[in-house]
């Protein structure tokens, strides 16, 4: 009796999962299909149409799309690199050392992520204008730290805390200098967390809309902002919009697929104390 | 208070996901286990991890289904009786105290649930608390208790119900050395006072030897021996029991019997050690007979100057104050000898070995069964 009960619930579970999967993936599939549809056939509800590469042509080769794409890479990638260079040592300090108001500082860093971007973006706009870093790569990379650094520090700190300090002592006694210990011993052990946090930070930075909208103008245009261009004044070129959206999603999707195995492990491992 | 009878108990797990670490490919976690615990007796289920002792206890409690066989508490067959109706007290390894209740309420919880009057509850809690030294803890919350304190409260909670049968599963496992020893003594005195039939699961043979009236030694789900501490120590039925009980463990070596003149001698590969075979085995052995011989470290003796024992080289000498331990290489194995003699030796010294004949055991080479005279 137990066996058939198990079977029925398994079928039910799988069925529900399939339904949910369709629900979640359908919009994305639809969007990809749109990229191949000519404007004239845009509103057909059946899936019968003649696929065309015109939209891709328009977007990728005839507009400035590539420039926008590169802008996004520079700003998001740059932000993550800065976050890693500054964040990893910060995480180490929080994990290993004891100083006054340590937990307050840690919480403050995390709290940067709590504030909705729209709340802070207006004052930032004025500050940026005054400092002269409005519409610069530097300016965007810097403000993106609000998005990428807290997560990175939080995850990597957990990883450092999980590494017994005795391992560093053992390496010291073995004859290694602090730098060698950091690169040979510590870095390999925090790699999963670092990679997972960096990837998530990259995705958040890549997707950021409010900051580039308000804090950059014409010289630096990440594709999140640039995609609005395709909402042309006369008519909406849905096909081209779809291409812009699809291609912009690609980097994150590819990265995530590459390291999906490490993603869950990386994010949760540091948190669970054995 | 009731006795416990287990008849031909089997347990097989349906899903393969539940295989324990040490389990052989054979399916049964508990394999044809039968034993009888008299009213008021304290028995221990002893064995390595994964041997099926906890499973047996859980089947007795009703927390696991019984695949085959019968469990009787007192006169009643309880196979299909719900745990709460079996009149048992449980003190398990994981304390599972109710976090929002203080110690007093935790202990009293069960009685409250059964509708016992407030006065009666108070009387019983105040009666039990000093036995387990938890009187000062009665108004504390579980989160503030140390491991040892939690364990005592755990036991108080189990016995306050005056159960017919008390079941304990490694209740002292989270305590360290001295605390553990102290708690062991307290448990023994307590059980002696309340005279409750108790079944105690442990993997620590010292615990079993100290606490139990009788010990059931289990390996891979099969009962090896069920006897008093004296019986399992002095009269083990097979090699497993012989080497499991006793610390340091019994020396067990493969040997070939050789006859010389009119006597038989144990000889060992890789060594020129010869030990005379005790008279009582003379009918069982013959020249060329291969078996295993077991002798406890305390029963290996240092012979004096005119002893007929073989001279052997000391490999390790440890002076431990109360006693001295000497290790001698016999082939690949280190034979251990414990003595209270004062002479200090060094590695490389030569001593003559003798054994107490009446404390030597023979085991079958293949099955490990004890060969009796």
């Amino acid at each position: 009796m137990n066996k058939s009960k198990g079977r029925l619930s398994a079928i039910l579970q799988n069925g529900l999962l399939v339904i949910y999967a369709i629900f979640a993936l359908f919009p994305l599939v639809w969007m990809v299909i749109l990229t191949f549809k000519a404007d004239s056939q845009m509103f057909t509800t059946t899936f019968i149409f003649t696929p065309t590469l015109d939209n891709y042509n328009e977007v990728l080769f005839k507009s400035d799309y590539v420039k926008y794409f590169i802008d996004s890479i520079i700003v998001a990638g740059g932000a993550v690199i800065v976050s890693i260079l500054a964040g990893v040592p910060a995480a180490y300090a929080l994990a290993r050392y004891d100083f006054k108001k340590k937990e307050d500082i840690a919480f403050q860093i995390l709290s940067f992520k709590f504030a909705p971007e729209i709340l802070v973006v207006l004052p930032l706009f004025m500050i940026y204008q005054k400092l002269g870093i409005y519409d610069t790569y530097f300016g965007l990379i810097w403000v993106y730290q609000l998005i990428s650094m807290p997560l990175l520090i939080w995850v990597v700190r957990g990883y450092f805390e999980d590494i017994s300090v005795e391992i560093e002592h053992a390496a010291q006694v073995d004859g290694y200098s602090w730098w060698q210990i950091f690169f040979k011993m510590l870095l390999p052990l925090i790699k999963p967390g670092l990679v997972a946090a960096a990837l998530l930070a990259f995705i958040f930075a890549w997707n950021s809309f409010t900051f580039p909208l308000m804090l950059s103008g014409t010289s630096v245009q990440p594709i999140t902002v640039a995609a609005t261009k395709y909402l042309a004044s006369d008519s909406v070129h849905y096909g081209q919009m779809a291409v812009a959206a699809t291609v912009s999603a690609l980097p994150a999707v590819i990265f995530a697929l590459c390291i999906q195995k490490h993603l869950v492990r990386g994010l949760s491992f540091g948190a669970v104390k054995g | 208070m009731a006795g416990l009878t287990i008849k031909n108990l089997y347990k097989r797990y349906e899903n393969s996901g539940k295989k324990k670490k040490n389990q052989k490919p054979n399916d049964y976690a508990v394999n044809n286990l039968s034993l009888e615990c008299q009213q008021g007796e304290f028995i221990a289920l002893l064995g390595p991890s994964g041997c099926g002792k906890t499973t047996t206890l859980r089947m007795t409690a009703g927390l696991e289904d019984i695949t085959k066989g019968e469990v009787y508490i007192g006169e009643n067959l309880v196979n299909n009786v719900h745990p709460k109706d079996r009149h048992i007290g449980l003190a398990f390894e994981d304390y599972a105290m109710y976090p929002p209740l203080n110690v007093y309420d935790n202990i009293a919880f069960n009685l409250k649930a059964k509708g016992v009057t407030k006065e009666e509850i108070d009387k019983r809690v105040r009666e039990i608390a000093p036995l387990l030294q938890v009187e000062e803890l009665l108004d504390k919350m579980p989160v503030k208790l140390s491991g040892g304190q939690k364990q005592r409260v755990n036991i108080a909670r189990a016995i306050i119900r005056r159960p017919e049968l008390l079941l304990m599963d490694e209740p002292l496992s989270h305590l360290d050395g001295k605390m553990r020893q102290a708690m062991r003594t307290e448990i023994k005195r307590l059980i002696n006072e309340i005279k409750c039939t108790t079944v105690y699961v442990t993997h620590d043979q010292l615990e079993a030897m100290s606490l139990a009236d009788k010990i059931a030694i289990i390996d891979f789900g099969v009962l090896q021996q069920f006897g008093t501490p004296a019986e399992v120590y002095d009269d083990p039925v097979n090699e497993f029991v012989a080497s499991f009980i006793g610390e340091p463990p019994m020396n067990i070596l493969e040997t070939t019997i050789k006859s010389e003149e009119e006597n038989f001698f144990f000889t060992f590969e890789g060594s020129d050690l010869k030990i005379q075979v005790p008279q009582r085995y003379s009918k069982v052995v013959k020249d060329g007979f291969r078996c295993k011989v077991g002798v406890r470290p305390m029963d290996v003796l240092i012979g004096n100057a005119d002893s007929k024992g073989t001279p052997e080289k000391v490999a390790t000498f440890e002076n431990l104050g109360d006693e001295r331990r000497i290790g001698i290489h016999v082939g690949d194995i280190l034979l251990m000898l414990i003595t209270e003699e004062e002479t200090r030796y060094k590695a490389g010294d030569i001593i003559k070995l003798e054994v107490r004949g009446e404390k030597t055991h023979l085991f079958d080479l293949v099955t490990g069964e004890r060969i009796r005279e």
Partner: protein, 384 residues
């Protein structure tokens, strides 16, 4: 050349003084034990010698040179940590080889292979070289940690409770194994433990540490037979020594020890040196120390035996301990495994007084014992 000296070393952590003016002198090639209960400061001492911590006051010398300012890497010590501290991302071979690959002690790969193989064979882990630490049992991890220390030729081996996390069976076996390979060390070793069996078995000399201070230093026998106070006496030996409070009375040339006025009075066997020391100490209230193996029992009443009740009976491996209760006093004695007795039954206890030690009841300090001269002679013999 690796004599290790600590001179007036004090180490504080905030308000807590972990080490209080420690003086220690470990001879070259000596196997020295730091023994004491948890929290005594033993690991702190080791960390200060290794350079992982630096003392607030005092001087650490290795081979005669002051090393306070020298970082751990340059002190040329090898350490076995209590929790093994194996590098989780390297396999056993690389873990053991790691000291020989550091910039300071670098050797070529061929030399490394020879050294690692030698050590792996000695620790019996040659079949585990490809495994990761997460795939090893505690016992195996401990051997790898030891191997990583032994692969070098340092000034000193520092070992912090290496056998602590093993179960009793494995601990006994590993201790005996360590004893066997000890002869191959040829290097000063400082070994921390809270297990007196390890201390006595492995140590040339033992330092008893308590609350950041050194209480007594001596060979195992010296400390076991002549502990400087009751605390030390209780640390050495399992089961613990019996400390029986009572009063000494001198009648002419004889001494009597009274346990319970009017009920239990014993004449002490005569020994001139002991009696002289007892007289010099001018103490009336003493604690008589008697190890459990020097207490005999009978279940039948016998002349001169004290009537007690059985408080507990527990196995300790190859023998058992009976605790007998007389009023408020608990007396421990040795019995074989498997004796039939009931709790609270009568038991008659006899003290073999010719093995007693004597302590001041107030200061808890050691006064003297029987056969002190014999013990001192034994010790002299051992030093040669």
């Amino acid at each position: 050349m690796a004599r290790i000296q600590l001179e007036k070393v004090t180490k504080k952590f905030g308000n807590v003084t972990a080490l209080n003016g420690i003086d220690l002198d470990v001879k070259d090639k000596e196997f020295f034990i730091l023994f004491g209960p948890a929290g005594a400061g033993k690991t702190t001492m080791l960390n200060n010698i290794a350079g992982i911590q630096i003392p607030e006051e005092g001087v650490v010398k290795i081979g005669g040179e002051v090393v306070n300012q020298i970082d751990p890497a340059h002190r040329n010590t090898a350490m076995v940590f209590e929790n093994y501290a194996l590098y989780p991302h390297m396999n056993v071979y690389d873990n053991i080889a790691s000291p020989l690959r550091s910039p300071l002690y670098k050797k070529d790969e061929e030399t490394i292979k020879k050294a690692v193989d030698r050590v792996a064979k000695m620790m019996k882990i040659d079949y585990l070289l490809e495994r990761l630490p997460s795939q090893l049992s505690n016992g195996q991890k401990q051997r790898v940690a030891l191997g990583r220390a032994l692969v070098r030729e340092p000034n000193v081996f520092l070992m912090d409770e290496p056998l602590a996390h093993l179960d009793a069976k494995l601990r006994n076996a590993m201790r005996t194994e360590l004893k066997e390979i000890q002869a191959n060390f040829e290097t000063t070793s400082i070994y921390v433990t809270h297990d007196f069996m390890e201390a006595m078995s492995l140590g040339d000399r033992i330092a008893i540490v308590d609350h950041g201070e050194i209480v007594q230093i001596g060979t195992g026998d010296a400390i076991y037979y002549m502990p400087c106070n009751e605390f030390v006496a209780q640390l050495m030996g399992d089961p613990e020594i019996n400390l029986i409070p009572g009063t000494l009375k001198k009648k002419e040339n004889d001494y009597f020890f009274t346990l319970d006025e009017g009920v239990a009075e014993y004449q002490l066997p005569a020994e001139e040196e002991l009696f002289k020391k007892l007289e010099d100490s001018e103490s009336e209230k003493v604690d008589l120390g008697l190890r459990p193996q020097h207490v005999k029992y009978s279940f039948e009443p016998m002349e001169g035996f004290l009537k007690c009740t059985v408080y507990s009976y527990e196995s300790i491996g190859n023998k058992s301990v009976i605790i007998a209760q007389y009023k408020n006093l608990q007396i421990r004695m040795i019995a074989p495994n498997g004796v039939t007795l009931k709790l609270d039954q009568d038991i008659y206890v006899n003290f073999l007084l010719e093995h007693s030690l004597f302590f001041h009841a107030e200061t808890k300090e050691y006064i003297s014992r029987y056969n002190e001269a014999g013990i001192l002679a034994l010790e002299k013999e051992q030093e040669e």
